[in-house]
């Protein structure tokens, strides 16, 4: 058995040198350094998993634009948006927003569910010299970053796949709004994900898909602008509880201002306020789960 001989050697052949083990630490860690080191770890893991992330993030929106912006117009079943906008134009902000939302939420929820239960490997990170609430913030920032990458990956796909004459009319009309919406949308989703990850039992993860993630994407004003819901008033009001609505509408305001969208205050307020509230709440529940 190789293990046995290897271990024997450790113990007998090679003695543990005193200075290797007990020399005083060369560096005093600081909180920002520790925080950045944890972000560096996330980047390393993302880089390793890039191909699988790429496929996972792109598959759904790619199929969607293919069917709705290419196949359906070709066979004459295409949907027209308001004011003559092509369906592709409506889909771009919606699909980018929904990708950010899903990727950021999942990036927060699933690793956390594992870390808090199976083997409780959260202990590893919790023992790093960082206050536990900052560890929660770090997880939110890392998940938001993955959400943003997810959103950016979707852009080219939804911009370029379409039938002739169905090209989306998209340009960044307002850079500050675009950036604020992208970033707060990702942070909002990540903090919501962290909250769900700390309060939901992993055995019910399937239910989470059915009752949280599915309704959020399907009813998040991804496939139609919120104003188009005037005819279904109850749904228009119910949709206001869906965070993705504000992200989609915010991206519409920034990217396709000609398509009807909410006024700026109406999406910025929930995005920024929601991010602050959810981050505060998620940080608290996370700290309570980690410190027993």
């Amino acid at each position: 058995m190789t293990t046995k001989t290897a271990q024997g050697k450790t113990a007998q052949g090679k003695t543990v040198q005193a200075e290797t083990l007990t020399a005083p630490p060369a560096v005093r860690p600081t909180i920002p350094r520790t925080f950045m080191a944890m972000m560096a770890r996330e980047v390393r893991v993302m880089r390793k998993n890039f191909l699988s992330t790429f496929v996972r993030v792109l598959a759904q929106p790619l199929m969607f634009v293919f069917v709705f912006a290419y196949v359906l117009p070709k066979i004459g079943g295409g949907m027209a948006g308001q004011g003559g906008a092509t369906f592709a134009t409506i889909l771009v902000p919606g699909l980018v927003g929904s990708s950010i939302m899903m990727q950021a939420m999942m990036a927060a929820i699933f690793p956390l569910m594992m870390e808090l239960t199976w083997q409780r490997s959260i202990t590893d990170r919790a023992l790093a010299p960082l206050p536990i609430p900052l560890l929660a913030i770090q997880k939110i920032v890392a998940a938001a970053l993955q959400g943003l990458i997810g959103g950016l990956l979707v852009f080219p796909a939804v911009l370029f796949i379409h039938a002739d004459g169905q090209a989306p009319e998209v340009h960044v009309a307002n850079w500050p709004i675009f950036l604020v919406v992208m970033i707060t949308g990702a942070l909002l989703a990540a903090s919501g994900g962290l909250l769900l990850g700390t309060v939901i039992n992993p055995q019910k993860a399937q239910v989470l898909f059915a009752v949280v993630l599915m309704p959020i994407t399907m009813l998040g004003c991804v496939y139609y602008p919120w104003s188009a819901l005037d005819n279904v008033r109850w749904l228009q009001i119910a949709s206001l509880f869906n965070p993705l609505v504000y992200l989609s509408e915010g991206l519409r305001a920034a990217l396709t201002p000609d398509v009807g969208h909410m006024p700026t205050w109406a999406f910025l307020l929930p995005l920024i306020g929601g991010t602050i509230a959810l981050t505060w709440f998620a940080t608290r529940t996370f700290t309570k789960r980690v410190l027993t």
């Binding site: 046995k4 271990q7 113990a11 005193a18 005093r28 860690p29 490997s121 202990t123 919790a126 027993t292």
Partner: protein, 320 residues
């Protein structure tokens, strides 16, 4: 709490931890005092569920004490957790290695979490892989390693930043005997190198083999503490002879008053004799039974050991 002397690595006063749950409060630790000096190999010994892991959890800042206080390396575990975490290394009972990283990266990023530059962290990781004989597992996934390899990697990881105190929670639980003995050798080497170590274990022989001082813990309290020799030499340091009869225990005559016998306990058809001098005692008990018409169905004799200490302190046999 007054400022402890400089060579004290850990000082805990009257630590309590009660977990609240819907089914009622569970007192896990009920008043534990500890003093561990620098360079000491200290053991918390007790059966499963005695409160050892909770105690270690409080000392490593991840369990918040219900009351009482503790200082590790001069810092308060509740008020200055980051300062404490900078100075300790912890090896948990579970495999808490980072599953998304290789063995090497587990060490590398631990170094970076503790403020090392990327280059220093990589150099340190190489050094530790070499030291713990894991170089051939460098790119391996931590969950594809054997239990012994994973444990060595976890010890290596806990040492990356050269902690002042190394905590190990049940380091050899679930490992095969050969791997356990090898880990013991590593831990002895560490101690020789001056590392302060606090270990919890439910294995008597582990505490005896490794620790300078041992605290025997049961039901969240320390029953006794001292060097293994001191514990053996204290009230409980005796031979314990347990004899079971197939009928009621015979009249033991003047056994209780005899010199060299400190205690006789009867329970059902069983007698337990705590003796300093046990030569011939078993034969005597068999003979007493024979003359009373009962025979011996079971007998056991425990030499002075931590097990007899535990038996004397609690009246219960040690269950691992």
């Amino acid at each position: 709490m007054t400022e402890p002397p400089p060579d004290i690595a850990i000082g805990a006063v009257d630590l309590h931890k009660t977990y609240t749950s819907p089914r009622g409060d569970v007192p896990a630790v009920q008043g534990i005092d500890l003093d561990v000096r620098q360079g000491e190999f200290f053991g918390l010994l007790g059966p499963n569920g005695a409160g050892k892991s909770t105690t270690i959890g409080m000392l490593t800042t991840l369990v918040v004490p219900t009351s009482g206080s503790a200082r590790v390396c001069g810092f308060d575990v509740e008020k200055q957790p980051v300062e404490v975490k900078r100075r300790i290394g912890m090896v948990s009972q579970n495999n808490t290695l980072d599953n998304d990283l290789t063995a090497f990266e587990n060490l590398e990023f631990r170094g970076r979490y503790f403020g090392m530059s990327a280059r220093d962290a990589r150099r340190r990781a190489e050094e530790l892989l070499e030291l713990f004989n894991l170089t051939d597992r460098r790119e391996g996934n931590p969950f594809e390693m054997s239990g012994g390899q994973a444990k060595r990697l976890m010890i290596g990881r806990a040492l990356v930043h050269r902690p002042e105190v190394l905590f190990l929670d049940e380091p050899t639980a679930g490992l095969d005997p050969q791997t356990r003995v090898n880990l013991w050798k590593i831990l002895r080497e560490l101690q020789k190198a001056g590392q302060t170590i606090v270990l919890t274990t439910h294995y008597m022989e582990e505490a005896e083999a490794l620790c300078d001082r041992v605290a025997v813990v049961d039901h969240g309290k320390i029953l006794a503490s001292g060097t293994v020799e001191e514990l053996k030499g204290s009230a409980g340091a005796e031979t314990v002879l347990t004899v079971a009869y197939d009928g009621s225990v015979p009249d033991l005559g003047g056994l209780r008053e005899r010199d060299g016998i400190s205690k006789v306990e009867l329970s059902g058809n069983q007698v337990r004799v705590f003796a300093h001098e046990a030569d011939g005692l078993l034969g005597e008990l068999v003979a007493l039974g024979t003359s009373a018409g009962v025979s011996v169905t079971d007998a056991s004799q425990l030499r002075p050991s931590l097990e007899t200490v535990f038996l004397t302190l609690t009246g219960r046999e040690y269950r691992e």
